[in-house]
Amino acid sequence: MLGPYSQKLTADDHRELLNQLYLARYFDVRLIKEKKRGRLRGTLYSSHNQEAILVGSLYGLKPNDWISPIHRDMPAFFLKDFRNGWRNPGRMGMTIQEVCAQVWGKQGSPGRARDNWSHIGSKAKHIIHSTSMLAGTIPAAAGVVYADRLDGGDAVVLTYNGEGSTAQGVFHEAVNFAAVHRLPVVTIIENNQWAYGTPTDMEYSLEDFARRADGYGIPGLIADGQNVFDVYEKVMEAVDFARSGKGPSIVECKTFRAYGHGDHDDDRAAKYRPTDEVAQGRSRDPIAVMKRLMVAAGTMTADQSKEHPAEGKGAAEVTDADFPPVVVEYLTEGVEFAVNDTVPPGEEGGMWVFRE
């Protein structure tokens, strides 16, 4: 049942993947709570129920590969190159301190909190900085790997996009460019069925957003976005295709947005989305799916699968006890760092317009 890439994953990999799922979920839950406590400004775009996409797509990357996450992908910043050790300072991903400092608007943010939330990146860690303009990062992603190829490298870039964002002109221009130049650009479409308050049938004329690939003659894969293994499988297929010089591809991951578009939208979303659609869309929590798969694979017992029952619970219902302590501890380090960090001084607003 598992594809060739997933079959090679060990029991340790399974446990690591599950922990990463927990961590991504806990990050979301914790921020929702911190925000309710009034400690955070800005909008929180929850990745609840969509975590398998981030965890599964990042797991097989090489440290030097590049990524460009967007608004709903905050956990990607620290999950990148996580296999090299959550706390390894040489890891090609952000530390939890950096990510939390960004969320809290503190100096320790990689961008010194000049732009908000997901609008960070790191040249050193190979993470492209997005703006708010949807799909706007794909051209730069193509450029980054173009430069890498010129230098003899074999880096691949993963770009993340909501399905609604694929309607942007720049999506087309960038994917077309990448296809012409056979650039190693893997465009992940997180199809969570809604673009803010607009359902997919008002955004696109076909059911599967992977079909956008057909217009460029590139592979358009579809993954079960609730299933880490399936995301891993399809993304690795795309990544190997890219790395071997065959060019770009699109991987659509089918999922469902758990809450409102942002936390400001939760109440309205409860009205504009039919209750049964939401129930259905949230019925396959990626943590639950993962546990079932692990039990089936024999890498977890049925009893073990009952531990840390975070799955299926909304942010309001879940508590720290529902998560493995290792996850709570790790994130708490980040939160504490951020809370105690200082806000950058006002004068910085006038700095770094130009490189002198």
């Binding site: 609008h119 308050g197 607009t198």
Partner: protein, 338 residues
């Protein structure tokens, strides 16, 4: 009886409600009007300005468009070519950059290119402006791009009455108009006021409003900054200077006359605006008056603007780069004491 039941219903409305009323009234009055934008229908708009409009007027006249600013503008322009009046919502005015060519080269020039055969009655409106912690891409005032692109009118109301009255006028104007809504004012309780219905609500484009009369210095501004200028005027008053605060409301066309008349009296000019300094509209006002009112100016005309930076996120940085009551007061005092 309970006091609450007795209390006369307040008819005061906020800025956002005033805008909504304008849309409802114009949609009712003009069956050729079509609204298009992202999430304006099912959701009713990110801020709710189009709340309920699709339910009332249907999915054909209130279009939930894909995330395609260029197509949205171009489709709306095509509809105007074929007899419609269109209202285009930008979810945030910042995203207008993605539809830029369709606005400045396709839409703005249509009447000119056709030697007047085709008018484009289109209003592009959306939430704009800083001070809310929106950071680089949810804080912009980018009106100067369009002021430098011939064929576009530009409007920016600061009060509920003006919001409604100018939007209604804009929707009846045969030209493409950029309508900057100040999202910081959308739900400001302090500025709520009674707002007329129907034609009585109309406010003409191209006429400034004198928000406060004074003899010592003329402060010209628009949008959210109006309230900062009025606040600064209080401190000035305490220092013995009476400021005349002019809210231009329309940038293109600009009511130069009102400013000039004021300068004949005050002989001092301060222009305030939150957009980046270089080539911003504050500079345009200053340039025009430096030339037109040369004889009347007794002190250097100055502008208080955003620094030439994006709008950063965290509060101290945002405050550092944007105009504030303090910065306005200080600049005006310097001018008064010159």
């Amino acid at each position: 009886m309970a006091a609450t039941a007795e209390a006369p219903q307040s008819t005061k409305k906020n800025y956002l409600t005033a805008l909504k009323e304008a849309l409802y009234e114009e949609m009712a009055a003009n069956s050729d009007m079509v609204c298009i934008g992202e999430d304006i229908g099912i959701l009713g708009g990110a801020f709710g300005v189009t709340d309920g409009l699709q339910e009332k007027y249907g999915r054909e006249r209130v279009i939930d468009a894909p995330i395609s600013e260029a197509a949205i503008v171009g489709v709306a322009c095509g509809m105007c070519v074929n007899g419609k009046t269109t209202m285009v919502e930008m979810q945030f005015i910042d995203f207008i950059s993605c539809g830029f060519d369709q606005i400045v080269n396709f839409t703005a020039t249509y009447h000119y290119r056709t030697a007047g055969e085709v008018a484009i009655p289109m209003v592009i409106r959306g939430p704009a402006g800083g001070y809310g912690g929106g950071a680089l891409y949810h804080s912009q005032m980018n009106e100067a791009w369009f002021a430098n692109s011939p064929g576009l009118k530009i409007v920016c109301p600061s009060t509920p009455r003006d919001a409604k009255g100018l939007l209604k006028s804009a929707l009846r104007d045969p030209n493409p108009i950029l309508f900057y809504e100040m999202k910081e004012l959308y739900r400001q309780r302090a500025i709520e006021e009674e707002v007329p219905e129907g034609d009585a609500a109309l406010v003409p484009l191209g006429k400034a409003a004198v928000r406060q009369e004074g003899e010592d210095v003329t402060i010209v501004t628009y949008g959210t900054n109006v309230y900062m200028c009025l606040e600064a005027a209080k401190t000035l008053e305490a220092e013995g200077f009476r400021a005349e605060v002019i809210d231009i409301r329309s940038l293109v066309p600009l009511d130069e006359e009102t400013i000039l008349e004021s300068l004949k009296k005050t002989n001092r000019l301060v222009v305030v605006n939150e957009a980046p300094r270089t080539c911003g509209f504050a500079g345009e006002i200053l340039a025009r008056l430096a030339q037109e009112a040369f004889e009347y100016l007794d002190a250097p005309p100055v502008r208080v603007t955003r620094l030439d930076t994006p709008v950063p996120w965290v509060k101290p940085l945002e405050t550092f780069v944007l105009p504030s009551v303090d910065k306005i007061t200080e600049a005006a005092l310097r001018v008064c004491r010159y």
